[in-house]
Symmetry: C2
Subunit: 287 residues, 2 copies
């Protein structure tokens, strides 16, 4: 297992963590100043500059783009289908413009009324899951042609209705294997400790995933958790045995960036310099 | 599948739902007045009267005890082990005093520092799970001798750290099968739609469970959910397809009570008469 206490190359920060900085340029400069080697930006942050200028900004600051957030939110009424597809293809094109092989994180979305507000309300989680798989299959050829690997992310079961109807690594891998039985590399998974740490089948899932693991996210699970979306913890402040999961991931062959993604009202209220300093410190000690 | 729109025999109310009534006697009288045929009480409610007098109170009101809450919270420091065992055996004895064959719900508990406050803090979920199985094995002979079936309840993954480190029906059944390979009936599962509705393996799990399903709990999953423990929804107010799950349960052979268990700050603030009337109505329409 890599020794992250001295490693200065493996850290990436998902920019949602730094959203208090108020935009891509501030984030890039802050990360460069703190010696953070990589970031994973979101679409809305790229929108102002456009992907080509954003890519140049990031590159000129000496940073790498470790991933792009995000495509998905597939389930919706039939009338919305083409709009959803077009939007996801644009996300692929943006990821392609951001850098060679930059994985695009795909979050499935939940039931149609939450994935695409205004869609007819339903309780049929199975139908939403079937639609996610169908639309992933639809998106995959475009992503392959663009050279953009799709990193499909199973979400914690508490997000099943609202944000992600695929809730275990095993379920995500079933889909990958059906869509890409030859393991030719166009589709894999995003493993986020926050979503998967509780899973009794986690070790088996990670071992089965092997080189399908395209990106690895860390944060921590707080007790109590006060908000289902925006109360993630800083590494070391919660109950997740992050090194144990990283060991599994690395035993499965993963050698990519370890991306810190912390949705947190509490950390968004802290000065960004303190936040980045804390991330660097905790990364060395608790990841 | 039973027709609950006209069924007057299958409803049970878990007394936590009615905790605003302030004690067992009020709960029993209110349920009798509203024609609720069964309740599932908690240990602290029985404590004042003692199990024998509580049983008589319930029986004299014409009610049935459908289950008893709860044993478990197994993980803790070695020094606490005997105290935990003794307490769980007392729970078994109380369940035996409450009625013939009354299932005792067993909630595993989470990591030791949460299951038994004061215990050494750890992130080892696997060790907590192993301990739960060990202690279930320890409790089982006592429960069998007392004629009390243990209904082991897997809890939603969002409760893994704090309340229940066993998080899928499959995982609970693995334990049942290891402890009781002959399926002789002393140990089974409690299936609560709130905990399991998201599980992609749910249909397979229920079918595999068969007669090991000892109790079935309903409520609903709200979007958004504002509190991880006390924001459960009334049936019909959320996204769970309860009849679909009940169909699976009944196809697996279950014919027992359908128990309404709603931890909810919102519903605890409503007048108990309104609450029970609402439960009866929603039970007919959404269960």
């Amino acid at each position: 297992m890599r020794d992250l206490s001295t490693d200065t190359h493996s850290l990436s920060i998902n920019t949602v963590t730094l959203r208090a900085l108020g935009g891509l340029e501030n984030i890039v400069h802050a990360c460069a100043r703190h010696g953070v080697p990589a970031i994973a930006p979101w679409r809305h942050e790229i929108a102002t500059l456009g992907p080509a200028r954003a890519a140049k900004l990031i590159r000129d600051a000496g940073l790498v783009v470790s991933g792009y957030l995000r495509a998905g939110f597939f389930a919706g009424d039939t009338a919305r289908r083409q709009k959803i597809r077009d939007d996801n293809r644009r996300a692929v094109d943006e990821a392609a413009a951001l850098g060679v092989g930059c994985p695009l994180v795909v979050v499935p979305g939940g039931l149609p009324q939450f994935a695409q507000p205004g869609s007819r309300a339903t309780k049929d989680l199975g139908a939403a899951r079937a639609l996610v798989e169908e639309e992933l299959a639809e998106l995959l050829p475009h992503a392959r042609a663009a050279g953009v690997p799709l990193a499909f992310e199973p979400l914690h079961p508490m997000q099943a209705a609202e944000r992600g109807c695929n809730n275990t690594l095993g379920q995500a891998l079933d889909i990958c294997e059906r869509l890409d039985p030859e393991d030719s590399g166009g589709i894999g998974v995003a493993v986020d400790v926050y979503h998967v740490w509780w899973d009794p089948e986690l070790a088996a899932g990670i071992s089965r995933a092997g080189k399908r693991i395209l990106t690895f996210h860390v944060c921590d699970w707080l007790t109590p958790t006060r908000h289902m979306l925006n109360d993630r913890g800083m590494m070391g402040d919660g109950v997740i045995d992050i090194p144990a999961i990283r060991r599994l991931i690395e035993n499965a062959g993963y050698r990519g960036f370890v991306e810190v993604e912390i949705f947190s009202d509490a950390w968004w209220a802290v000065s960004p310099d303190t936040l980045i300093t804390t991330i660097r410190d905790r990364f060395r000690r608790f990841v």
